[in-house]
């Protein structure tokens, strides 16, 4: 029996390993942004129309004004400039169909508003139009489609800048192309730090490493951890935190940053534990945490890797009165479902401002609501970001002339742009200097924007 059993189990353990290998793949990746919006009738303007509409007016003037830019970043095709009075196209590259239209449409409306205002303003040297391309394929954002859209914009000489994309993985596919073309690209919504300031970011801009063409008006995820720590320590008056993360890139990253900052602020990190994937029972972990008497549990991760159940099980071990905080990975409806009633009172950070609460955004919101009255155009979390991104490009074209290289150099040098999101510029990586983090709180079973502050 013994020998037979061992042979048998050796095949059994092989099967265990096989299962283990497949188990990871079977788990769906967590997608924090969940939204189901009605599909718009058509995905806005198509690119073909703009190519026809853009007058080749620049061709004559080009030779006169196309002095090579100081940076020399512009590659051949892109160096043509448009004469004053010509129509400048602002490319918009967002998910415009399927469920993600709820993200793309209100953001693109911000661009349309900026273009309308620029055309109405007397004294502007150029006319403007927005051309919108959809990067969603079968209702889901698609990096390959995004790259195709950028190539289309890149080939269109009237395009002086692109607003978009919405999703970080689409940006990953697009940044090398806009960098190569020296075409300014401003994202209203990407928050992944790897797009601008890490070694991975350097790989994305190999063509012109020193001439950054990709910028963003929202801040990055890596400020969520420290900003959460500041808020917990200074505003919520929490002094002793127990930290838990899901041992994944995002979760461990923000939890480590939280811990560093919280300790630096003067708080006490009582412990830092990591969950293993697939784990469902956190009562033992929470019992251990409870014995250290924390006044805050900080979770780095997303709802599906434990963020919801951890909060839920805090009530089972008598910790419901202890404050719970996490990053934007738990600021989603899924968390409310998983945590149930226990979710109330939880805090989450989001690396984007709440436009409605910014004093600078008041005029923008008024103008937006006057122009867009259809329910599907309702102002979104990134409408103001799209508006600002377009205005930065317009300002650059007006001041530097409709020449891609000059526009790029101008945008890279923006230091105190006054927009709907406040006054800010871009740092050496192309990231906004306004690191506005908003604080969300579960109140009455819903995530409610409670506060925001500029992280320093």
């Amino acid at each position: 029996m013994r020998s037979k059993f061992l042979t048998f189990l050796s095949s059994g353990s092989a099967a265990v390993m096989l299962l283990a290998a497949c188990g990871g793949g079977a788990a769906p990746s967590a997608a924090p942004a969940s939204s189901a919006a009605p599909k718009p009738a058509s995905a806005a303007a198509s690119g073909g129309a703009s190519a026809a509409a853009s007058k080749p007016a620049g061709s004559a003037a080009a030779s006169a004004s196309a002095k090579p830019a100081a940076s020399g970043a512009a590659s051949g095709a892109a160096s043509a400039a448009l004469a004053p009075g010509a129509t400048v196209t602002i490319g918009v590259e967002l998910p415009m169909s399927g469920g993600e239209a709820a993200n793309g449409v209100p953001t693109s409306n911000g661009v349309k508003l900026a273009v309308d205002q620029a055309n109405a303003k007397s004294g502007n040297k150029y006319k403007y139009q927005a051309t919108i391309l959809d990067d969603a394929v079968n209702g889901k954002h698609d990096p390959a489609q995004g790259a195709k859209n950028i190539q289309q914009f890149s080939a269109d000489k009237s395009v002086m800048g692109v607003v978009g994309p919405f999703n970080s993985n689409v940006a990953q596919a697009e940044i090398p192309l806009t960098n190569e073309a020296g075409l300014v690209q401003i994202s209203p919504a990407n928050t992944n730090p790897d797009l601008t300031k890490t070694d991975k970011a350097k790989d994305l801009r190999k063509a012109h490493p020193s001439d950054i063409a990709y910028f963003r008006v929202c801040t990055t995820d890596d400020f969520q951890g420290p900003a959460g720590a500041d808020y917990a320590f200074k505003t919520l008056n929490k002094k002793a935190a127990f930290i838990v993360d899901d041992n994944e890139t995002y979760g461990k990253g923000i939890a480590d940053e939280f811990e560093k900052r919280f300790s630096a602020d003067g708080g006490k990190a009582l412990g830092h534990e990591h969950l293993s994937s697939g784990q469902q029972d956190f009562k033992s972990l929470l019992t251990k945490a409870k014995a250290t008497n924390p006044d805050l549990i900080y979770f780095g991760g997303v709802t599906t890797t434990g963020g919801g159940l951890l909060r839920k099980q805090m009530t089972d071990v008598g910790m419901q009165q202890i404050t719970y905080m996490g990053g934007d990975g738990i600021v989603e409806d899924e968390f409310l479902k998983e945590a149930g009633a226990a979710g109330n009172g939880a805090w989450g950070t989001v690396a984007a401002p709440i436009a409605e609460k910014l004093p600078e955004a008041a005029d923008f919101i008024k103008a937006y609501n006057a122009k867009f009255t259809d329910p599907k155009d309702k102002i979104g979390a990134y409408s103001a970001s799209g508006f600002d991104a377009a205005n930065i490009i317009i300002q650059a074209v007006e001041n530097a002339g409709a020449d891609r290289a000059k526009v790029r150099a101008y945008v890279a040098g923006v230091k105190d742009f006054k927009g709907a999101l406040g006054t800010y510029g871009f740092d050496q990586f192309g990231d906004t200097t306004a690191k506005i983090i908003s604080m969300w709180n579960v109140d009455g079973g819903k995530w409610v924007a409670k506060d925001q502050f500029a992280f320093k």
Binding site: L19, A26, Q280, D281, S284, T287, T304, D316, V317, E334
Partner: protein, 306 residues
């Protein structure tokens, strides 16, 4: 919270977790004891049980906590429904996937079991979606607070359900004709057949009971965690399998003991070592048991069967 209170609390946490593992482990051990197959689809049968429980809760129109004595009726209905459904599922799996391979080389049914596991996961994923699904908080959960040590009503319920199931199973196997037929089939299939025992029926019965117990596990899981997910069967199944091997695969009391020990091991290593090493410790124990005591804690060295 003193060190002793902390230990007591962790033992309570471990017992309630271990009770679920024990329920699942019974299915592994019964099937192995009878046809020497490690039924890797068993963890997924448990998972299906949790979704069936969710379906029944939904069809009863229960959306929140049930107050008063009605809760006992609702829970009993859901429990029995989930057990019946998974029991039948187990029989169907055995008939369709394992019986045709009963004389095939050993690896064939093992791989088939893995295939069945993926089929079940994918069906549930298609039907219920790729995200965790929330399970209504059917049962009120008052907390019994003995000083600093807390026991919740749900933890007591889990332990109670498990004890009833295990005692019932033990009684059935030892005291009924069918139970005796199961034991006879486990000892020597051919001799049992010669004695007039319907082997196919007995094996189907074994699958029915083992899968129904996994269904009961799925039910308590849903009630306890209020969240069910199509991949839940995978880790829970592996842990329960470890429990069955630890206790001595093929041995019913051993599976119960193994389940409770694995639960305790998890909660104590989360407390005294680190949460992130819990799985490594549990599966490390599996390796040690296989190397030094392959027949498990309570397993006997059975004579080689033909």
């Amino acid at each position: 919270m003193s060190a002793l209170e902390l230990l007591a609390q962790q033992i309570i946490n471990g017992l309630s977790l271990g009770a679920i593992y024990a329920l699942i482990a019974l299915g592994y051990t019964m099937v192995y004891g009878t046809i020497e197959l490690i039924n890797f689809a068993h963890g997924d049968v448990f998972m299906v049980g949790s979704f069936v429980a969710l379906l029944i809760v939904g069809s009863l129109g229960v959306a929140g906590t049930v107050a008063g004595p009605a809760v006992a009726i609702v829970m009993l209905a859901v429990l029995l429904g989930a057990m019946l459904a998974t029991g039948l599922l187990g029989v169907v799996i055995e008939r369709a996937a394992y019986r045709p391979l009963r004389r095939a080389p050993r690896l064939a049914p093992l791989i088939t079991a893995i295939g069945v596991s993926f089929i079940l996961q994918n069906i549930v994923q298609l039907r219920a979606g790729p995200s965790p699904v929330s399970f209504p908080d059917v049962m009120p959960n008052p907390i019994i607070d003995a000083g600093n040590v807390i026991i919740s009503a749900k933890q007591l319920m889990i332990i109670f359900v498990s004890i009833v199931m295990m005692a019932g199973l033990q009684w059935f196997v030892l005291n009924t004709r069918l139970g005796r037929a199961m034991r006879a089939t486990a000892q020597d299939r051919q001799a049992a057949a010669l004695m007039g025992i319907d082997i196919n029926l007995t094996i189907a019965l074994t699958f029915f009971i083992g899968s129904a117990l996994a269904g009961a596990g799925g039910f308590v899981f849903g009630i306890y965690y209020n969240s069910v997910w199509f991949i839940n069967g995978y880790i829970a199944g592996l842990k329960a399998f470890t429990a069955a091997v630890l206790g001595g695969i093929g041995n019913i009391v051993g599976a119960m003991l193994g389940g409770v020990l694995i639960g305790l091991l998890e909660s104590l290593s989360a407390q005294y070592v680190s949460e992130r090493y819990v799985d490594a410790i549990v599966f490390g124990i599996l390796i040690l048991v296989l190397v030094f005591r392959p027949s498990g804690l309570l397993g006997q060295q059975l004579p080689e069967s033909a």
